[in-house]
Structure formats: structure tokens, C-alpha cells
Symmetry: C2
Subunit: 187 residues, 2 copies
């Protein structure tokens, strides 16, 4: 069981900077849901903001519009099958957590749940932009809390030595890339 | 010398779906520029749209606002040092192409140049959204042409067998991840 450590908000963009696929979790009243999203990225450093595309046809969209909150959870290779399932069912018809074999955890600053076992969490409050939401399915969130697995995110950097804890990059049709080799270049 | 092949526009999101770092190239009149950007992603499938964050302080911003066009070039590992240089100088002070050791190529449908030697190209026309541009430095582009290196993008999928041609995911301070192992999971 690995432990989480707080990530300084102004460094939280680094959790997403390399473009991983995320799980978006949300809740409103008694209902909660989780969906997979490849289209999420940082938008600003400080205060940190993120972008995520949430289709109108999704249950997640309803919950985010009702609550004004969501969590971007960064899943790892060990969770790839669950991520695929979370991307392929309708949250109005099934409990996507149960369907995907994923568990809820309490978040720190939002009522939306976290997804247990992920390697990082960005808790977000929606910055209302009705035109973007309506016209482009595009949501802007301000990151209000961030934590990461202290085994893989150390001193503001990812260290993916453990294959099972590498982040994911979705391709299509059940295929992913794992995050690959880290290397440095000289300017 | 590898050859480029057209990518069907409705599949062009797959070039960006895994979250690679891009080079943004732009031109206006006699001036042209290239910058590195980790914050770019797909926004829609068909017609395909992309998002990219372009800071107000950049020369690229001036050129894109003047021309309404840009190219997202997907660079590969062999170009990592050039990508870092393209991310670290001011296009008003130096010719970033020369400074980075990168060459311009003619694009198909926009006047902005392509960056030679990249593994894919998304030629884009800005969909004007002044509020997003002013408030968030956020640009929406419609993809009007897409091509990819036929050795690495085949039948709508990346195949990164050649290490030197893997796409990049920027971390910070000169460090990157290469795109890693591809794998499939069963639903």
C-alpha cells in the first residue's frame, strides 16, 4: 500500500505535463461516476488550471454541471483494464465504479470521489465558461488540491521505475502506450 | 528519407491522442517562428479540432494572431535537443529555426511552415474565440490537413518500433519521456 504526498499546487501541472490518460470522477447528491478521458491537459501554472473535454452524452457531464467539481485521477498500467471499462459503459445504466472494478475514496477539497489506487489526483472546481461547455464540451477546472504516490512522484518529478505504476496514454480499441524511457538532453 | 502519407481528417486526432509534445510553427508576412508546446490536445473528431496554449509573451502568439494559422508538428526523439532549444529562446530576438537547427518545409493548406523531419503534421486554421485567447491564452484550431511518416503511422495507428522516431512527452528542465511500450487489454 503506497502513500500519497501533497503536491505543491504551483507544481501540479507536472502531473499532467507528459499527456497521460486520466479518469474523471464526479458526484452530485447520491450519484457518482467515473469515466476515462484522453483529452485532458494543463492550462495554467499558478493558480493551476486544467482543461478536460466531457461529451454532452455522458453521465459525468450531468454530475459535473450539477456540482461544479471533478477529480482528474491519473491511473497506472496495473489499472489499464479498469480504465478501458470505465471508458466503455454508460454511467446512467450501470454503476461504473462497480462495473470497472474501481473503488471510491474521499477527496480532500471536493465532494467528487477519488479513484482508489491511482498514482496522482488533481481535485478541481469548474471555472464556469458556458460558451466553451456548450459549444465545445470543454471544461476548465481550477486545481484546489493535488496529491501523488510518493513512490513515483518525488521532488516534483515522475520516476516510473516500477512498470506497473507507469502512467498510460490511450491509443484506440483497447490499446495503450505506457509512459516510456526518461532521458535528458543538453541545450 | 522517409515519406509522408495523408491522414484522413476524421482520424487525425489519433496523432495527438497519446499526449505528445509538439512544435508549433507559424508565419505572418516574411516572419516565421517555431516553439515547443507540451499543452496541446485534440478537442473534436469531425471536423477535427485541436487546442493549444500560446502565451502572450511569445512571438508565435503575434504570428498566429496576425495569420489565423499554425501547424502542430509532432517531433521525435532524434529531434529532442532541437525541441528543447525551440522551447528556450525568444523568436523576436533570434531566428528560432536557425537557433534550433530546424528547417522549414512548405505546408499544404496553410502559409505557416512545417518543421522538417517531424513524424506528423496537423495544419490548422484558428477558430476565433477572443475570450479564450485573451483570458486563457487558449487557441482552438480546425485541422485542415494532416500527414504522417508512413514508417511510424500505419492504418491509423502509431507503430514506434524505431526508437529514434518515438514521439516525446516533455517533463521539465531538459528532460523528456519517450513514448513507451504499446499493449492491449481485454474489456
Amino acid at each position: 500500500m503506497s502513500r500519497l504526498r501533497a503536491v505543491e499546487l504551483s507544481k501540479s501541472y507536472r502531473l499532467l505535463n507528459h499527456g497521460p490518460t486520466v479518469l474523471v470522477s464526479s458526484a452530485a447528491g447520491e450519484r457518482s461516476n467515473v469515466m476515462a478521458a484522453a483529452w485532458a491537459m494543463p492550462l495554467d501554472f499558478d493558480p493551476p488550471k486544467v482543461l478536460v473535454v466531457i461529451d454532452k452524452a455522458t453521465h459525468t457531464r450531468e454530475l459535473i454541471e450539477a456540482s461544479g467539481e471533478f477529480v482528474l485521477n491519473i491511473p497506472c498500467r496495473a489499472q489499464a483494464a479498469a480504465v478501458l471499462r470505465a471508458g466503455g459503459a454508460d454511467g446512467r445504466l450501470v454503476d461504473k465504479f462497480a462495473y470497472s472494478g474501481l473503488s471510491r475514496r474521499l477527496a480532500q477539497k471536493v465532494a467528487a470521489p477519488r479513484v482508489d489506487g491511482c498514482i496522482a489526483y488533481l481535485e478541481c472546481k469548474v471555472i464556469s465558461e458556458p460558451h466553451n461547455q456548450q459549444c465545445y464540451d470543454l471544461f476548465i477546472g481550477e486545481v484546489v488540491a493535488a496529491e501523488a504516490d510518493e513512490e513515483v512522484f518525488v521532488d516534483g518529478r515522475w520516476h516510473f521505475d516500477d512498470e506497473a505504476k507507469r502512467s498510460l496514454h490511450y491509443i484506440a480499441g483497447g490499446a495503450f502506450f505506457a509512459t516510456g524511457e526518461a532521458f535528458e538532453v543538453e541545450k
